[in-house]
Symmetry: C2
């Protein structure tokens, strides 16, 4: 039985959607125990609304770290926030995983400080599952570490490789380095160094991946620094949003278009389901010594439920044990050491 | 009368679409003279196909710089390529602007070497017009300079500001810095320094722009380093492509969806026109001492015609004269100097 801790105070639609997500998860994932962490009265009030028969443990965390707060300072000051309490419960092994849709920076910061990192990992990275033409790709890092060193990216690659193999079940997943061109000679000095490192590491490195192929499914694992990854991710959201808006505007201006839109409601629903982040749940924070899942700030109950699912899958496959077992072997072979001494 | 030089050898659909674009441009932009630069026999053969009555000057440039060639080396070696010949004609004032859909790196490199930079500008930058919810935004740099210094970004901001005001006709356009968060404290060390610089420059700086707002129209001019800009641009293309594919797949699986699709053909055509890069023509290469427009590698005849239009607009507004006049005043005021001495 897995014990999942859920941050009730984080997210744009907290606490109501988060609680709804918890109820959905309890129903769907039999034998999973969920600990709700947040302002006790708020939790009890929300649960009462649903007249749910599901049982939860409630941990009172009266403080809230707001979405716009400065991460490090708020983690230091707000010991009784849902984020700090949740991560501490995980550290104390009172829960097996922690899921939060709150302030991403604060989750990363609290996790790093309290859980510490897996030996062999120097920085945590946020991995994100994105839908592609061929299935799912895992992109890391999308914003935990915005000034990384080349070695950090190698550690990200190793963790993504292990994740994809173990959790997404592909024997020898491919790893690509996000760059502005395919050739090894392309890109900034930083990216060129990373390319060299990747070339001698024990991952299935297939070379640079151009951003135009990010959704093509060419690579299972896509590695980049957190600044670039965050921009890429947010640009995709912005692009999808504006394209949808433009399209709907044109359709609604044309009576035939309106009828067409009505007829394709079923297709549109399936399309939205396919691309919606809620389907992919949360983003694993890899590298910290504990299972932490970061949900989207705009998480709906469905997204919350799926974030819990991601946590359960990581636990059931023993993800962190496998990362611990393999990280040094992947990152510290003779080739990598040579690149660093040259 | 403006004399536009057009590279006939560059682009995925060269020479046929480029020649078609030249014919379209001659018809639409009365009094514009177009010089076709490329392999003479190829040009004559293509023109003959169209039985066009438009007259062109032809400059024989028998060498070709392929799309995947290494820019600096190819520019050095291939003196008789369309790119080097075209830029040289511009330097010699035999044409007033040069338009190429060829190897972007080679165009940037040849332009920088042969035309030199405008005094006060240390690196050229590629600006791109993107459609937004409110109209058009200009994003610079999308790939000319992948390892810039903060001061280069200030020069980009200044040039974009002048461009937007003069060519796109807005009195005091807003300038935003592409970043992973809105607050001044957000982002890498590099971006934070740029933020400080922008804050004291004589541009209408409105702060950081999050990537999720890139298509929102919040800022008229969006500034970023060439690596990030290139990734953002290519991710957008990839995103639009994959969304279109997913949507069509779902629609075609459903008979009602198919009928709906048929009914909204007119709306779809208008939508595609709105978002297609061909509508926006080419990307101005700003900072070099001459008008150079870089077209998309996949440019159709329409895109070529519109790239020529961009060149004509820059010429008719006297863009480079205005950049020369204003660049120092914008970039070298006392505040900026202070940031650099601190």
């Amino acid at each position: 039985m897995y014990r999942i801790g859920l941050d009730i105070s984080g997210g744009d639609y907290a606490p109501s959607e988060i609680i709804k997500g918890a109820i959905l998860a309890r129903k769907e994932f039999q034998g999973t125990h969920i600990t709700l962490i947040g302002v006790k009265e708020e939790i009890e009030k929300e649960i009462a609304k649903h007249k749910s028969k599901e049982s939860f443990t409630i941990i009172d965390a009266p403080e809230k770290i707001e979405m716009a707060e400065q991460p490090a300072a708020s983690v230091r000051r707000k010991r009784n926030s849902s984020i700090v309490r949740g991560v501490t419960l995980l550290k104390e092994k009172k829960i097996d995983a922690f899921v939060s849709c709150g302030n991403t920076g604060a989750v990363v910061c609290a996790s790093t400080l309290i859980l510490r990192l897996i030996e062999g990992v120097e920085r945590p990275g946020i991995a994100l599952m994105i839908p592609t033409k061929k299935g799912i790709s895992l992109i890391i890092d999308v914003g935990a570490n915005i000034g990384p060193k080349p070695l950090h990216l190698l550690q990200y690659a190793a963790m993504a490789y292990v994740y994809y193999k173990l959790v997404l079940g592909k024997e020898d997943p491919t790893v690509g380095l996000l760059n502005i061109g395919e050739e090894a000679s392309k890109g900034s000095e930083f990216v060129k160094r990373v390319h060299k490192l990747f070339s001698c590491a024990s991952i299935n490195f297939v070379g640079n991946l151009e951003a135009k192929d990010i959704f093509s499914g060419k690579c299972d694992c896509i590695v980049c620094d957190g600044f670039v990854g965050n921009i890429a991710l947010k640009v995709s959201e912005s692009c999808a949003d504006v394209l949808g808006r433009f399209l709907i505007d044109e359709i609604l201006e044309d009576p035939l278009g309106k009828i067409g839109l009505f007829l394709m409601q079923r297709s549109l629903r399936k399309f939205k389901k396919k691309i919606h982040y809620a389907e992919y749940g949360g983003a694993p924070l890899l590298g910290v010594d504990g299972i932490v899942i970061i949900g989207h700030g705009r998480s709906s109950s469905l997204a919350v439920k799926n974030a819990i699912k991601v946590a359960i899958e990581e636990l059931s496959r023993g993800l962190n044990l496998e990362i611990k077992r393999r990280i040094n072997e992947i990152c510290q072979n003779s080739g990598v050491r040579q690149v660093f001494t040259v």
